[in-house]
């Protein structure tokens, strides 16, 4: 049963610092949800809670319920490794593995999880790179260092790497903030393409981007979710004064 992401009463801490307070979200499956808000408002922490990456930080703590495609991510006995396998993540800065080639980077998730079969790997790499709209650019240099690609290509390489393990959900943490407008446009196109198969949650500082790619948008402020709703409505007719201030740039 595909039913997107449901988050109930999610709280997160760094040590004694309460960074997420009672977050409630429900997203549709195979849709793009954007998370906007000023720096330090807990956007990144929020999506890191969805694939249990938050707890990787020493002293970090989470309470609440997160249901992804109907399964409770924080249920006792659930292995975070399995959760992360189903919920891929792309980070703000492209981070290809420096000791690996383009091919090895994309194959890393499968290969390190035990897939040896060369034919399977070849096929998965080609599919993931095609999916990430990078195949035509790198097909002749699969054996070169992943870090030899341009910034935009590296970010798409990281997307391909996340796609290669065939996740059900893709989390993107400001994937375009270090990219020029052309590379950004490519990634946005890609997001619109990917949502046919995946549930996507994207954190962004760029409100036009949120408006362009997402169906639903959540506005975060100081660890609280101020407003969550259909993207068009949130941007044209916000219910909360603080949302209006933020999207019109009158904040502070």
């Amino acid at each position: 049963m595909a039913d997107g992401i449901r988050v109930r009463d999610l709280n997160a801490w760094f040590g004694s610092l309460h960074v997420l307070k009672g977050i409630e979200v429900a997203t549709a499956p195979k849709a793009v949800t954007a998370i906007i808000g000023p720096s330090g408002c807990g956007k990144s922490t929020f999506i890191r809670c969805l694939n249990r990456m938050h707890e990787v930080v020493p002293g970090a703590r989470v309470t609440g319920t997160v249901l992804v495609e109907g399964e409770d991510v924080y249920a006792p006995g659930v292995d975070p490794v399995d959760v992360r396998r189903k919920i891929g993540m792309v980070f703000q800065k492209a981070n290809p593995f420096p000791t690996m080639s383009v091919f090895e980077n994309v194959a890393a998730g499968l290969r390190l999880a035990g897939t040896r079969n060369r034919a399977v790997l070849n096929e998965a790499v080609e599919r993931a790179l095609t999916h990430a709209a990078l195949w035509d650019e790198v097909r002749d240099r699969l054996d070169q260092a992943g870090s030899s690609l341009s910034g935009g290509q590296q970010q798409r390489l990281c997307i391909a790497r996340a796609l290669a393990v065939e996740p059900e959900v893709l989390l993107m943490d400001e994937p375009c903030s270090a990219l020029d407008p052309i590379a950004t446009a490519k990634i946005e196109e890609l997001i619109l393409e990917l949502r046919k198969d995946l549930t996507i949650v994207i954190v962004t500082h760029n409100m036009q981007q949120a408006a362009r790619v997402s169906e639903a948008t959540g506005f975060f402020l100081l660890g609280e979710m101020i407003e969550f709703g259909v993207t068009r409505e949130l941007f044209t007719n916000p219910r909360d004064k603080r949302t209006e201030d933020y999207i019109t740039g009158r904040f502070g």
């Binding site: 990787v56 490794v81 992360r84 891929g88 980070f91 981070n95 998730g109 390190l112 260092a145």
Partner: protein
């Protein structure tokens, strides 16, 4: 005895203590470094780090006495093994600390990327973090080997020296620095010349080790160095 077997035996004899020390010290040192980087505990890593730093500064003859007490006395004889243990104790803190430092230089974002792919932590360390830190760790290992290659004092009453070929790890054994020492304090000119020759061989060995480190750390792509 054919000259090639003489050469292999000489080689085995000269390198026995260092090789034994490497077999003991390297795995333990690298594991220790990994533990120091990855442990979420605070007190024990702090203690290990502090101990390693102190150990690094302990005069090597003291370490020789330690090996004498824990290996030579119970075995009731000097041995290659005792020399190996003494040298291993000398290289241990160097390897532990460089492994730790090099692993810390690996950006956290790589670790996160690997974790986010759904890899268990031990695989992330083994297949992503360690390979990225490989060049730096190898450099540290080579430094440690070069350091023990020339150690004389801890071998005086562990390996002890031997005028004969390699006779097994439980027997006293010749070591190059020890031999240089023995020849150099002798009153004969031709022995002095032997000592000079031995010193030259020792320096060449250390040179080769450094060269090997250069080649080994060149790597396919750039990484933490």
């Amino acid at each position: 005895m054919t000259s090639s077997s003489v050469r292999t035996r000489a080689f085995r004899t000269v390198l026995a203590c260092s090789a034994l020390a490497s077999c003991l010290g390297l795995p333990l040192g690298i594991l220790g470094g990994v533990y120091l980087t990855e442990s979420r505990d605070r007190r024990l890593p702090w203690l290990i780090r502090f101990t390693a730093d102190v150990l690094n500064g302990v005069p090597s003859i003291v370490i020789g006495i330690f090996a004498y007490t824990v290996v030579v006395l119970p075995m009731r004889r000097f041995s290659a093994l005792a020399g190996g243990v003494a040298l291993a104790v000398i290289m241990l803190p160097i390897v532990v600390r460089t492994t730790e430092e090099m692993m810390r230089l690996v950006p956290g974002s790589l670790r996160e990327a690997a974790l986010a792919l759904g890899l268990p932590e031990w695989k992330v360390i083994l297949r992503v973090v360690l390979p990225t830190a490989r060049a730096g760790i190898i450099t540290g290992v080579m430094v440690a080997i070069a350091r023990i290659a020339g150690e004389t004092a801890p071998l005086l009453f562990t390996a002890f020296g031997n005028r004969f070929w390699h006779q097994g790890p439980d027997q006293p054994i010749a070591a190059l620095p020890l031999q240089i020492f023995a020849y150099a304090i002798a009153p004969y000119d031709d022995w002095h010349r032997q000592a000079w020759a031995g010193a030259l061989v020792l320096i060449l060995l250390v040179f080769l080790v450094s060269l090997a480190a250069r080649v080994a750390t060149r790597g396919r792509y750039s990484a933490v160095r």
